[in-house]
């Protein structure tokens, strides 16, 4: 961890940290301290680089459009306004925001629920049972994920068109379920594997049926994994762009990414403030969800990075 922390700093932490900083003390101080300061300065620059676009999006979205088209650039909204948000939300243009947001929400939630149920069943099958073609199924799941979506747009378009499901909620939902399913199965499989089958066996000795043992013992332990996987499916479906662009191009059936793209093409270079307000509205749920779940998903390995 902070193995090379400057010797002058009080070291709090694990025994390993203490031990390594003792060795750092031995190899001595000045150069390392300078190094730490240089790295700290670099880390601030990197922080600014990573954060700036997010900051700039929000900053622009709160400024009047004529203000951002001046000769000066405002790094803080001098004239704070919510007008851009009102424009995006309530302007009944050719591509209104709210129906697109509604479509996105319905499609995303349906996708997450159905994919979670299907994936959960499949995950139980591959983790708790031995059967022929188990390995084949796992490899198939991996291989399917490798098929590039861009290559599939044409044929998915034709298949969905053949079922008369273009520009429908069902059509896009079906495609999204198939898209997130392999990933969801793969992740849930990891979570189910993480719960020892011995726990179930213990419950069975105490008189539970196998299904009952699974339901009463393993399922509650899986809840965090299910939630986390569901949130990632949510983010995935919410952000998906190519399939939505091809399958749901009709304005009233658009999802948010397609809406943003259409809005950009219609208002690009004339109303960046409104485009930034729309971008913010689309990005905020994803960022919030992501930050909520990221800690849990990576807690095993990057706990130091996420929780500090």
């Amino acid at each position: 961890m902070s193995a090379t922390v400057a010797p002058a700093r009080p070291v709090v932490g694990s025994a390993a940290e203490g031990a390594s900083s003792r060795s750092a003390r031995r190899t001595g101080g000045g150069r390392r301290r300078v190094m730490t300061w240089v790295l700290s300065a670099v880390s601030i620059l990197l922080f600014l680089f990573f954060v700036f676009p997010v900051y700039w999006m929000v900053n622009t979205s709160f400024q009047p459009n004529n203000e951002i088209r001046g000769s000066d650039v405002n790094f803080w909204p001098e004239e704070f306004t919510l007008r851009n948000y009102a424009t995006v939300l309530f302007d009944p243009g050719r591509t209104p925001f709210l129906p697109a947001a509604g479509n996105s929400l319905v499609i995303t939630i349906l996708t997450v629920i159905i994919a979670l149920v299907f994936a959960f069943l499949a995950a139980i099958a591959v983790t708790r049972f031995r059967f022929r073609s188990r390995r084949a199924f796992i490899i198939a799941i991996l291989v399917i994920q490798m098929i590039p979506g861009e290559a599939m747009i044409v044929s998915v378009f034709r298949v969905i068109d053949g079922w008369h499901l273009l520009n429908t909620i069902i059509g896009l939902t079906l495609v999204y379920i198939a898209t997130v399913l392999p990933f969801t199965i793969w992740t849930l499989r990891g979570f189910v594997n993480g719960v020892p089958a011995e726990l179930e066996e213990a419950a069975m000795i105490d008189g539970c049926s196998r299904a009952g043992a699974f339901w009463r013992v393993t399922f509650p332990l899986l809840a965090p994994g299910l939630i986390a996987t569901g949130v990632f499916g949510f983010i995935q479906a919410w952000n998906e762009f190519i399939m939505a662009l091809v399958l749901n191009a009709r304005p009233e059936m658009m999802t948010l990414p397609v809406w943003l793209r259409t809005y950009l093409v219609a208002n690009g270079t004339t109303n960046w403030a409104a485009i930034m307000a729309g971008s913010t509205l689309m990005a905020i749920p994803v960022i919030v969800f992501f930050l909520l779940v990221q800690g849990r998903m990576t807690s095993g390995l990057v706990s130091g990075a996420v929780k500090g």
């Binding site: 193995a3 991996l142 044929s155 495609v175 198939a178 993480g194 995935q236 762009f241 994803v286």
Partner: protein, 330 residues
């Protein structure tokens, strides 16, 4: 009936969504008991298999079939497709535009992968040495960039690089006195277009690489490093002889994922073209498939390009699949 089974970690796959998930630690050498369940496992798998067969399998077959057919607008409206066998492939493989797109995609992806891996590795190494407060600060910044949807990120960067009112031109002119960037168009020139696209992609991909490698780095035992230090190994030597061998498996998998993701890049290029690039000069494979088939209406030719792209990507990902399934029991 028990089997000894060392489980594999749910490593990130090529699927876009897993960009967001760092791999989890392996449960070390645990025994997992699996029972024979007769038809139960098959019935549990049925819903997933039906959906995948209908929405992934069937279109995949269609894709391959179409790539051997003459399939244009007339066929979309009901005319029977004509079998032309390898004509589409011959057309694609003799088309200089295809090679231009292919080369552009390969060169651009290579640049993005190298930059992402270099910056990701450097940041991961840096995080090991940063005081805690700065490490958290940097992590928060990277998490925000990581969480940003690709489309909104592209739109925002496009606005930052705007010709007339973009903050990048403003800073270059007013802070650094580079007058040549007054009203400078970043997207008209293809090379400069790919510079901007590269910045967007690397900006979005570095956090995943940095966090994953940092996670790997924290697994390197302190004692080994300490012993090497006592034996007089310098910083670079320690990295080459100790840290890198520990990191190699993670490093390889992350690199392959980056290659696959960057080769199939679509959203960033497509949206940036909307903002101001010249499509014909900036198409990458993914966008080219869309342009040929959906926008251009030639499904046969688009299918052939798609199959070629898929084969290219699958051949790269075979290594990944083998790595991930290496320890899977037969």
């Amino acid at each position: 009936m028990t089997t000894v089974h060392r489980d594999l970690d749910p490593a990130p796959s090529a699927f876009e969504g897993e960009r967001m998930m760092a791999p989890q630690p392996k449960p070390a050498g645990r025994r997992i008991r699996r029972i024979r369940g007769g038809l139960t496992p098959y019935s549990l798998l049925t819903p997933a298999i039906i959906v995948l067969a209908l929405i992934t399998g069937w279109p995949l077959i269609q894709l391959i079939v179409t790539s051997f057919q003459e399939f244009g607008r007339a066929q979309v409206f009901g005319a029977p497709p004509e079998w032309v066998w390898f004509e589409n492939y011959a057309n694609v493989l003799t088309d200089p535009v295809f090679y231009a797109v292919l080369l552009r995609t390969l060169a651009f992806s290579a640049a993005c992968v190298v930059l992402t891996m270099v910056f990701g590795t450097l940041i991961a190494l840096m995080m090991m040495r940063l005081p805690k407060g700065f490490r958290i600060l940097l992590s928060v910044g990277m998490l925000l960039a990581w969480a940003m949807p690709a489309l909104t990120a592209t739109v925002v960067w496009g606005w930052m690089f705007d010709t007339a009112y973009g903050v990048v031109n403003y800073i270059l002119v007013n802070w650094f006195g580079m007058e040549e960037f007054f009203q400078h168009s970043w997207l008209i020139d293809p090379l400069s277009f790919f510079l901007v696209a590269g910045i967007i992609i690397v900006w979005g991909a570095v956090p995943f690489v940095a966090f994953t490698l940092y996670a790997g780095l924290t697994q390197v035992p302190d004692e080994v490093l300490e012993a090497a230090q006592l034996d007089g190994a310098g910083g670079f030597k320690r990295f080459r002889l100790i840290i890198f061998p520990y990191l190699k498996p993670i490093f390889l998998i992350v690199t392959i994922l980056q290659i696959i993701w960057d080769l199939r890049v679509f959203t960033q290029i497509f949206a940036l073209q909307d903002i101001g690039g010249i499509r014909a000069l900036t198409n990458t494979l993914g966008v080219y498939i869309y342009q040929t088939s959906i926008a251009g209406g030639d499904f046969g030719q688009g299918g052939a390009i798609a199959v070629i792209t898929a084969i290219l990507l699958m051949s790269i990902s075979i290594y990944y699949v083998r790595q991930v399934t290496k320890e899977e029991e037969p």
